[in-house]
Symmetry: C2
Subunit: 148 residues, 2 copies
DNA sequence: ATTGATAATGATTTTTATTATCATTTAGTA
DNA sequence: TACTAAATGATAATAAAAATCATTATCAAT
Protein backbone atom coordinates (compact mmCIF):
# COMPACT_ATOMS: atom_id res chain seq x y z
CA UNK A 1 0.00 0.00 0.00
CA UNK A 2 2.83 2.35 0.86
CA UNK A 3 4.50 1.47 -2.43
CA UNK A 4 1.40 2.14 -4.48
CA UNK A 5 0.84 5.49 -2.84
CA UNK A 6 4.41 6.45 -3.37
CA UNK A 7 4.13 5.55 -7.02
CA UNK A 8 0.96 7.58 -7.36
CA UNK A 9 2.56 10.47 -5.55
CA UNK A 10 5.56 10.43 -7.84
CA UNK A 11 3.46 10.06 -10.94
CA UNK A 12 1.37 13.04 -9.94
CA UNK A 13 4.55 15.03 -9.56
CA UNK A 14 5.89 13.91 -12.93
CA UNK A 15 2.59 14.72 -14.59
CA UNK A 16 2.55 18.18 -13.04
CA UNK A 17 6.12 18.79 -14.13
CA UNK A 18 5.31 17.80 -17.70
CA UNK A 19 2.23 19.97 -17.77
CA UNK A 20 4.36 22.93 -16.86
CA UNK A 21 6.91 22.07 -19.55
CA UNK A 22 9.57 21.40 -16.93
CA UNK A 23 12.06 18.55 -16.67
CA UNK A 24 12.17 15.54 -14.42
CA UNK A 25 15.72 15.33 -13.12
CA UNK A 26 17.59 12.87 -10.94
CA UNK A 27 17.54 15.46 -8.14
CA UNK A 28 13.79 15.83 -8.41
CA UNK A 29 13.34 12.11 -8.18
CA UNK A 30 15.48 11.86 -5.08
CA UNK A 31 13.68 14.81 -3.50
CA UNK A 32 10.17 13.57 -4.19
CA UNK A 33 11.11 10.10 -2.93
CA UNK A 34 12.59 11.42 0.26
CA UNK A 35 9.75 13.86 0.81
CA UNK A 36 7.18 11.12 0.46
CA UNK A 37 9.02 8.75 2.77
CA UNK A 38 9.85 11.33 5.41
CA UNK A 39 7.56 12.36 8.22
CA UNK A 40 4.53 14.43 7.43
CA UNK A 41 5.78 17.80 8.62
CA UNK A 42 9.32 18.34 7.46
CA UNK A 43 11.42 21.47 7.09
CA UNK A 44 13.54 22.17 4.02
CA UNK A 45 16.63 21.77 6.14
CA UNK A 46 15.60 18.36 7.44
CA UNK A 47 14.78 17.21 3.95
CA UNK A 48 18.09 18.55 2.68
CA UNK A 49 19.93 16.49 5.29
CA UNK A 50 18.10 13.33 4.26
CA UNK A 51 18.57 13.90 0.55
CA UNK A 52 22.26 14.68 0.98
CA UNK A 53 22.87 11.14 2.22
CA UNK A 54 21.49 9.72 -1.01
CA UNK A 55 22.75 12.42 -3.35
CA UNK A 56 25.66 14.22 -1.70
CA UNK A 57 26.24 16.73 -4.50
CA UNK A 58 22.81 18.25 -4.08
CA UNK A 59 22.51 21.89 -3.06
CA UNK A 60 20.19 23.35 -0.47
CA UNK A 61 18.65 25.68 -3.02
CA UNK A 62 17.54 22.74 -5.13
CA UNK A 63 15.71 21.15 -2.23
CA UNK A 64 14.08 24.42 -1.31
CA UNK A 65 13.09 25.15 -4.91
CA UNK A 66 11.58 21.73 -5.32
CA UNK A 67 9.60 21.96 -2.13
CA UNK A 68 8.13 25.11 -3.59
CA UNK A 69 7.45 23.22 -6.79
CA UNK A 70 5.73 20.42 -4.87
CA UNK A 71 3.52 23.10 -3.34
CA UNK A 72 2.66 24.43 -6.76
CA UNK A 73 1.74 20.88 -7.77
CA UNK A 74 -0.54 20.66 -4.70
CA UNK A 75 1.52 17.78 -3.34
CA UNK A 76 2.85 19.80 -0.45
CA UNK A 77 1.62 22.64 1.64
CA UNK A 78 3.44 25.16 3.77
CA UNK A 79 2.71 25.19 7.48
CA UNK A 80 3.91 28.22 9.34
CA UNK A 81 3.61 28.09 13.07
CA UNK A 82 4.77 31.14 14.98
CA UNK A 83 8.40 31.83 14.40
CA UNK A 84 9.34 28.30 13.44
CA UNK A 85 10.81 27.42 10.08
CA UNK A 86 8.24 26.65 7.46
CA UNK A 87 7.29 23.00 7.44
CA UNK A 88 6.07 21.18 4.38
CA UNK A 89 3.22 18.80 4.71
CA UNK A 90 2.37 16.02 2.31
CA UNK A 91 -0.90 16.68 0.66
CA UNK A 92 -1.91 13.85 -1.55
CA UNK A 93 -5.58 13.35 -2.25
CA UNK A 94 -6.36 16.83 -0.92
CA UNK A 95 -7.78 15.74 2.40
CA UNK A 96 -8.08 18.97 4.27
CA UNK A 97 -7.39 19.00 7.97
CA UNK A 98 -6.58 21.33 10.79
CA UNK A 99 -3.86 21.16 13.40
CA UNK A 100 -3.53 20.80 17.12
CA UNK A 101 -0.17 22.35 17.92
CA UNK A 102 1.55 21.26 21.11
CA UNK A 103 3.22 24.27 22.69
CA UNK A 104 5.53 22.01 24.68
CA UNK A 105 6.91 19.46 22.22
CA UNK A 106 5.91 21.17 18.99
CA UNK A 107 4.05 18.18 17.67
CA UNK A 108 1.35 18.71 15.07
CA UNK A 109 -1.74 16.56 15.32
CA UNK A 110 -4.01 16.46 12.33
CA UNK A 111 -7.68 16.74 13.03
CA UNK A 112 -10.88 17.27 11.15
CA UNK A 113 -14.39 18.29 12.01
CA UNK A 114 -17.10 18.57 9.39
CA UNK A 115 -19.37 20.61 11.62
CA UNK A 116 -16.70 23.25 12.09
CA UNK A 117 -16.09 23.36 8.36
CA UNK A 118 -19.76 23.92 7.71
CA UNK A 119 -20.03 26.63 10.32
CA UNK A 120 -17.04 28.37 8.80
CA UNK A 121 -18.73 28.41 5.42
CA UNK A 122 -21.82 29.85 7.07
CA UNK A 123 -19.79 32.49 8.89
CA UNK A 124 -18.16 33.57 5.65
CA UNK A 125 -21.49 33.77 3.88
CA UNK A 126 -22.95 35.91 6.66
CA UNK A 127 -20.18 38.42 5.91
CA UNK A 128 -20.70 38.23 2.18
CA UNK A 129 -17.20 36.78 1.96
CA UNK A 130 -16.24 34.10 -0.54
CA UNK A 131 -14.03 31.59 1.22
CA UNK A 132 -11.21 29.94 -0.68
CA UNK A 133 -9.30 28.19 2.03
CA UNK A 134 -8.88 28.35 5.74
CA UNK A 135 -6.54 27.57 8.54
CA UNK A 136 -7.43 26.46 12.01
CA UNK A 137 -4.81 25.86 14.63
CA UNK A 138 -5.50 25.00 18.23
CA UNK A 139 -2.50 25.55 20.48
CA UNK A 140 -2.16 23.73 23.76
CA UNK A 141 -0.65 20.70 25.46
CA UNK A 142 -0.84 17.27 23.87
CA UNK A 143 -1.74 14.03 25.61
CA UNK A 144 1.86 12.81 25.68
CA UNK A 145 3.18 15.96 27.29
CA UNK A 146 0.43 15.95 29.89
CA UNK A 147 1.27 12.42 31.02
CA UNK A 148 4.92 13.26 31.51
CA UNK B 1 -16.28 57.03 25.00
CA UNK B 2 -13.16 56.90 22.88
CA UNK B 3 -11.35 58.99 25.46
CA UNK B 4 -12.34 56.75 28.31
CA UNK B 5 -11.20 53.66 26.49
CA UNK B 6 -7.92 55.24 25.63
CA UNK B 7 -7.41 56.17 29.23
CA UNK B 8 -8.21 52.64 30.34
CA UNK B 9 -5.91 51.24 27.72
CA UNK B 10 -3.05 53.44 28.84
CA UNK B 11 -3.67 52.76 32.49
CA UNK B 12 -3.58 49.05 31.86
CA UNK B 13 -0.25 49.50 30.13
CA UNK B 14 1.14 51.60 32.96
CA UNK B 15 -0.05 49.08 35.51
CA UNK B 16 1.55 46.23 33.60
CA UNK B 17 4.79 48.16 33.32
CA UNK B 18 4.83 48.83 37.04
CA UNK B 19 4.09 45.21 37.87
CA UNK B 20 7.11 44.20 35.87
CA UNK B 21 9.27 46.79 37.61
CA UNK B 22 9.78 48.68 34.37
CA UNK B 23 9.63 52.38 33.65
CA UNK B 24 7.03 54.51 31.95
CA UNK B 25 8.90 56.77 29.58
CA UNK B 26 7.90 59.55 27.22
CA UNK B 27 8.52 57.19 24.29
CA UNK B 28 6.25 54.59 25.79
CA UNK B 29 3.52 57.13 26.24
CA UNK B 30 3.77 58.32 22.66
CA UNK B 31 3.81 54.73 21.40
CA UNK B 32 0.84 53.53 23.41
CA UNK B 33 -1.14 56.64 22.41
CA UNK B 34 -0.38 56.18 18.75
CA UNK B 35 -1.02 52.46 18.89
CA UNK B 36 -4.39 52.96 20.46
CA UNK B 37 -5.42 55.68 18.02
CA UNK B 38 -4.15 53.93 14.91
CA UNK B 39 -6.08 51.36 12.93
CA UNK B 40 -6.60 47.97 14.43
CA UNK B 41 -4.01 46.04 12.42
CA UNK B 42 -0.82 48.01 12.21
CA UNK B 43 2.75 46.99 11.40
CA UNK B 44 5.73 48.14 13.42
CA UNK B 45 6.86 50.18 10.44
CA UNK B 46 3.54 51.97 10.10
CA UNK B 47 3.48 52.75 13.78
CA UNK B 48 7.06 53.97 13.63
CA UNK B 49 6.13 56.42 10.89
CA UNK B 50 3.23 57.78 12.91
CA UNK B 51 5.22 58.06 16.12
CA UNK B 52 8.11 59.76 14.34
CA UNK B 53 5.87 62.71 13.50
CA UNK B 54 5.16 63.29 17.18
CA UNK B 55 8.54 62.30 18.53
CA UNK B 56 11.10 62.58 15.73
CA UNK B 57 14.08 61.35 17.76
CA UNK B 58 12.49 57.96 18.32
CA UNK B 59 14.21 54.87 16.97
CA UNK B 60 12.63 51.98 15.13
CA UNK B 61 13.89 49.52 17.69
CA UNK B 62 12.05 51.29 20.47
CA UNK B 63 8.77 51.01 18.62
CA UNK B 64 9.38 47.36 17.86
CA UNK B 65 10.40 46.58 21.43
CA UNK B 66 7.37 48.32 22.83
CA UNK B 67 5.00 46.53 20.51
CA UNK B 68 6.46 43.35 21.94
CA UNK B 69 5.94 44.73 25.41
CA UNK B 70 2.32 45.58 24.60
CA UNK B 71 1.92 41.95 23.55
CA UNK B 72 3.35 40.76 26.86
CA UNK B 73 0.84 43.03 28.59
CA UNK B 74 -1.94 41.41 26.55
CA UNK B 75 -2.80 44.75 25.00
CA UNK B 76 -1.62 43.72 21.56
CA UNK B 77 -1.41 40.51 19.62
CA UNK B 78 0.71 39.50 16.69
CA UNK B 79 -1.06 38.58 13.47
CA UNK B 80 1.05 36.80 10.91
CA UNK B 81 -0.55 36.29 7.54
CA UNK B 82 1.50 34.48 4.93
CA UNK B 83 4.67 36.37 4.13
CA UNK B 84 3.37 39.74 5.20
CA UNK B 85 5.03 41.73 7.95
CA UNK B 86 3.68 40.98 11.37
CA UNK B 87 0.74 43.14 12.25
CA UNK B 88 -0.20 44.12 15.78
CA UNK B 89 -3.77 44.10 16.79
CA UNK B 90 -5.31 45.96 19.69
CA UNK B 91 -6.59 43.59 22.25
CA UNK B 92 -8.27 45.38 25.04
CA UNK B 93 -10.86 43.55 27.04
CA UNK B 94 -9.69 40.24 25.65
CA UNK B 95 -12.52 39.76 23.20
CA UNK B 96 -11.34 36.86 21.12
CA UNK B 97 -12.13 36.80 17.47
CA UNK B 98 -11.09 35.17 14.25
CA UNK B 99 -10.24 36.70 10.90
CA UNK B 100 -11.53 36.70 7.39
CA UNK B 101 -8.53 37.56 5.24
CA UNK B 102 -9.15 39.07 1.84
CA UNK B 103 -6.63 37.65 -0.62
CA UNK B 104 -7.19 40.58 -2.95
CA UNK B 105 -7.01 43.71 -0.82
CA UNK B 106 -5.48 42.20 2.31
CA UNK B 107 -8.21 43.46 4.58
CA UNK B 108 -8.80 41.67 7.86
CA UNK B 109 -12.37 41.30 8.99
CA UNK B 110 -12.94 40.32 12.59
CA UNK B 111 -15.55 37.68 13.19
CA UNK B 112 -16.75 35.49 15.97
CA UNK B 113 -18.83 32.36 16.25
CA UNK B 114 -19.58 30.76 19.58
CA UNK B 115 -20.63 27.48 18.04
CA UNK B 116 -17.28 27.11 16.34
CA UNK B 117 -15.50 27.91 19.58
CA UNK B 118 -17.43 25.23 21.39
CA UNK B 119 -16.79 22.64 18.70
CA UNK B 120 -13.10 23.44 18.84
CA UNK B 121 -13.04 22.76 22.54
CA UNK B 122 -14.83 19.49 21.90
CA UNK B 123 -12.40 18.54 19.17
CA UNK B 124 -9.46 19.18 21.47
CA UNK B 125 -11.00 17.15 24.23
CA UNK B 126 -11.59 14.22 21.90
CA UNK B 127 -7.83 14.18 21.28
CA UNK B 128 -7.01 14.49 24.96
CA UNK B 129 -5.46 17.84 24.11
CA UNK B 130 -5.65 20.80 26.47
CA UNK B 131 -6.34 23.88 24.37
CA UNK B 132 -4.80 27.19 25.39
CA UNK B 133 -5.55 29.40 22.44
CA UNK B 134 -6.46 29.05 18.82
CA UNK B 135 -6.31 30.77 15.52
CA UNK B 136 -8.84 30.59 12.74
CA UNK B 137 -8.31 32.38 9.48
CA UNK B 138 -10.59 32.12 6.49
CA UNK B 139 -8.97 33.30 3.27
CA UNK B 140 -11.04 34.47 0.36
CA UNK B 141 -12.54 37.51 -1.34
CA UNK B 142 -14.31 40.18 0.65
CA UNK B 143 -17.59 41.83 -0.21
CA UNK B 144 -15.94 45.06 -1.37
CA UNK B 145 -13.59 43.31 -3.75
CA UNK B 146 -16.38 41.20 -5.21
CA UNK B 147 -18.46 44.27 -6.06
CA UNK B 148 -15.60 45.92 -7.91
C1' DA C 1 18.28 68.40 44.69
C1' DT C 2 21.86 64.76 44.12
C1' DT C 3 23.41 60.37 43.54
C1' DG C 4 23.65 55.63 42.16
C1' DA C 5 21.70 51.58 40.23
C1' DT C 6 19.58 49.97 36.46
C1' DA C 7 16.28 50.16 32.77
C1' DA C 8 15.46 52.36 28.21
C1' DT C 9 16.85 54.27 24.16
C1' DG C 10 18.70 54.71 19.41
C1' DA C 11 21.98 53.37 16.12
C1' DT C 12 23.78 49.62 14.37
C1' DT C 13 24.85 44.83 13.66
C1' DT C 14 23.49 40.16 13.68
C1' DT C 15 20.60 36.51 12.81
C1' DT C 16 17.94 33.56 10.14
C1' DA C 17 14.82 31.91 6.69
C1' DT C 18 13.92 32.34 2.14
C1' DT C 19 14.64 34.04 -2.58
C1' DA C 20 17.40 35.68 -6.37
C1' DT C 21 21.48 35.58 -9.21
C1' DC C 22 24.49 33.55 -12.39
C1' DA C 23 27.88 30.61 -14.45
C1' DT C 24 27.80 25.94 -15.55
C1' DT C 25 25.61 21.60 -16.43
C1' DT C 26 22.00 18.78 -18.06
C1' DA C 27 17.70 17.26 -20.36
C1' DG C 28 14.90 16.79 -24.16
C1' DT C 29 14.34 17.52 -28.93
C1' DA C 30 15.22 18.51 -33.78
C1' DT D 1 25.03 15.08 -32.40
C1' DA D 2 23.95 19.76 -31.57
C1' DC D 3 20.88 23.19 -29.94
C1' DT D 4 17.81 25.49 -26.77
C1' DA D 5 16.16 26.24 -22.50
C1' DA D 6 15.58 24.57 -17.95
C1' DA D 7 17.96 22.96 -13.70
C1' DT D 8 21.53 22.96 -10.70
C1' DG D 9 24.77 24.43 -7.03
C1' DA D 10 27.32 27.98 -4.97
C1' DT D 11 26.80 32.20 -3.38
C1' DA D 12 24.78 36.71 -2.63
C1' DA D 13 20.80 39.37 -1.67
C1' DT D 14 16.67 40.36 0.97
C1' DA D 15 14.04 41.40 4.68
C1' DA D 16 11.98 41.06 9.18
C1' DA D 17 12.94 40.76 13.74
C1' DA D 18 16.13 40.34 17.54
C1' DA D 19 20.47 41.29 19.76
C1' DT D 20 24.20 44.34 20.99
C1' DC D 21 26.13 48.18 23.18
C1' DA D 22 27.39 52.82 24.34
C1' DT D 23 24.82 56.52 26.02
C1' DT D 24 20.87 58.58 28.31
C1' DA D 25 17.02 58.75 31.40
C1' DT D 26 14.31 57.20 35.33
C1' DC D 27 13.36 56.62 40.02
C1' DA D 28 14.21 55.50 44.77
C1' DA D 29 17.09 56.61 48.57
C1' DT D 30 19.41 60.00 50.64
Amino acid sequence: MDKINKKEFKNTFIKCIEEKGLRYTKQREVIVDAFFSAGRHITSEELFNIVKRIYPEIGYATVQRNLNLLCKCSLAEEIKIGKQKTRYEQKYGNTHHDHLVCLQCGRLIEVNDDKIEKLQAKLAKKNNFTPIKHKLEIYGICADCKSK
